[in-house]
């Protein structure tokens, strides 16, 4: 179909120029050596890849994958009812959608600092819990994995809600009426009609949350107190303070390969892809 060719062309051109070529440059970097004073230089070497065999880096990758998966699952659990609410709302849908996105037009850094302020020992959450008599000593809510998860979920919730809404909005309310007519309780209808039909949205949302979460570095840095290293921190560090671009390139290539492989595998099992 000729039309299809033209439709795909802009994306093809853009991504070739601004993704494939730059990534090609990164591949080249990964085979070079760290320049004496930063940057890259000859000779060619494979040692940036052999360095990856160190179990230290494997552990970092696994930890990041686990965190990202947990954050994705939480986003799904939190986001699905919200998307359902917006899709079912009769008026002001635009407003509800907009309210989901609104906080994200403030800087991510600033929002993270706001959370740090809330979760501090002397912060509002601890103050509220102590005032309510639930605890006596302040809890350390910050600088641990829980805080990082909170930050990730908070930062990526709209990426789950918007695709979910996009699919749920299409669902015909008549389907639910039919289910009710056939004797299904609302909860059963939810699990056997609504959710399966929302599968494309669930897949899309999961991908949009999982993939960026694996490479997140600012959230673990700020909310985790710099006490854990995620793969995103490792890459960031190599390109900045360590000034070891070749090694940073090889780590990112490894990361990208693993994640893309995971995603393709995950989707192939459902015999339908998100794209």
């Amino acid at each position: 179909m000729k039309l299809r060719f033209w439709f795909l062309l802009p994306a093809r051109i853009w991504l070739t120029m601004l993704l494939a070529v730059p990534l090609g440059i990164i591949c080249v970097y990964s085979l070079l050596t760290r320049g004496a004073y930063g940057g890259v230089s000859l000779p060619w070497t494979a040692e940036n890849f052999t360095r990856l065999a160190d179990p230290l880096y494997g552990a970092i990758l696994l930890r990041s994958l686990w965190m990202a998966a947990a954050a994705t699952a939480l986003c799904l659990l939190m986001g699905f009812p919200l998307a359902l609410f917006i899709a079912r709302a009769r008026k002001w849908r635009g407003l509800y959608l907009f309210l989901v996105i609104l906080p994200f037009w403030t800087s991510f850094l600033v929002r993270t600092y706001a959370w740090m302020f809330l979760l501090r020992d002397t912060g509002l959450v601890n103050a509220a819990l102590q005032a309510a008599g639930i605890i006596r000593e302040p809890l350390t809510l910050l600088y641990n994995n829980g805080a990082v998860l909170l930050g990730l979920v908070y930062g990526y919730l709209p990426f789950m809600v918007l695709p979910l809404y996009s699919t749920l909005e299409r669902q015909d309310p008549a389907l639910l009426e039919a289910a009710a007519d056939l004797g299904a309780k609302p909860l059963a209808a939810l699990f056997r009609v609504v959710i399966p039909l929302a599968a494309p949205g669930i897949r899309a949302g999961s991908i949009l949350v999982f993939i960026p979460c694996v490479g997140a570095f600012l959230t673990p840095d700020l909310l985790g107190g710099g006490k854990t290293v995620m793969i995103g921190n490792l890459v960031q560090n190599q390109f900045t303070t360590a000034r070891d671009w070749p090694f940073g390139s090889s780590v990112s290539l490894a990361l990208m390969t693993v994640v893309v492989a995971l995603v393709v595998l995950f989707l192939r099992r459902d015999a339908e892809e998100a794209l």
């Binding site: 004073y37 230290l56 600088y143 840095d221 854990t228 921190n233």
Partner: protein, 340 residues
Amino acid sequence: MNRRIFFLGLTGLAGCTRDRRQRLNVYNWSNYVGAGTIPDFEREFGVRVRYGVYESNEEMLAKAMTGNSGWDVMFPSNSLIDPMRQNGLLAPLRHQWLSNLGNLEPRFRSPAWDPDLRWSMPYMWGASGIVFDRKMNPRPAAWSDLWRPVLRNHITMLDDGPEVLGACLKKLGYSLNSCRSDELEKARAEAMAQKMLLRAYLNAEARDQLVSGDITAAQLWATTSQQAMDAAPALDFVFPEEGFALYADTAVVLRESRRERLAHEFLDYLLRPAVGAAIVKETRTATANRAALELLPESVRQSATLYPPEETLRRGEWFEPLPAAGQRLRDRIWTEIKSA
């Protein structure tokens, strides 16, 4: 709706008048000039200054290394001067255009990293030490005091490999810039032991935590500590006995700059006593400009945090650029420490 905004914006942009004045592009750390510094310069010299800010040396370096970044003046830390010079990024300073160079502190007129000031002009300097709550008993006086088990969960260290490794090395009596694997291994062991006591690795965020009382002591830069102390008088600062890290942020002119003369005039302007004094009055940082310092009130000049006495300074050690192998070893150790 989007289309409407877009066209409005375009017409707005088109309507901007063209500025015919000469331009100077300066790239600096945030909070290193006063509110009036740049406008006054623009007015006096009849030029327009584009003033950009960055928050890390590496960001600045990545731009500089392209050789075509568009910036004229940058402010690298002293340990980057040699790498930048070796990469051919710097233009030599013409001292004949820098009449105020004599205003610098004597020890900055011939620093170890650039003995003839051929490439860089020291601007601000700083050190890292221990800031703490006065209630602490006994008062901390050395890095080893940050390893006390009683401080568990109430101390932080800087989120900076060289700084943390530096503190550990100093605690063990070694050089800050050591690249020897045996010394670094011992430093790593120290850092690992300390990590269990730490609340977090924090940079400027430690300031807020100190002021609110969440933490009792921290490894922090002197200038940031001064800000914390301004807000919370219960805090105090000390330069550890075993030694501490010193750094200086220096002004350089990039080789790619096509406005060398104007760049030098800007540097000379920063060296003026009145200008320098006005800057540090607002920024509360430590200046390398002695003439400016003399214009400041006694209380500032005597500040033990910002301008410690000579005997204290002798214990300090400057950061130096490190060879690639040493850098790699330290980086791996830092990664290990952080992932533990």
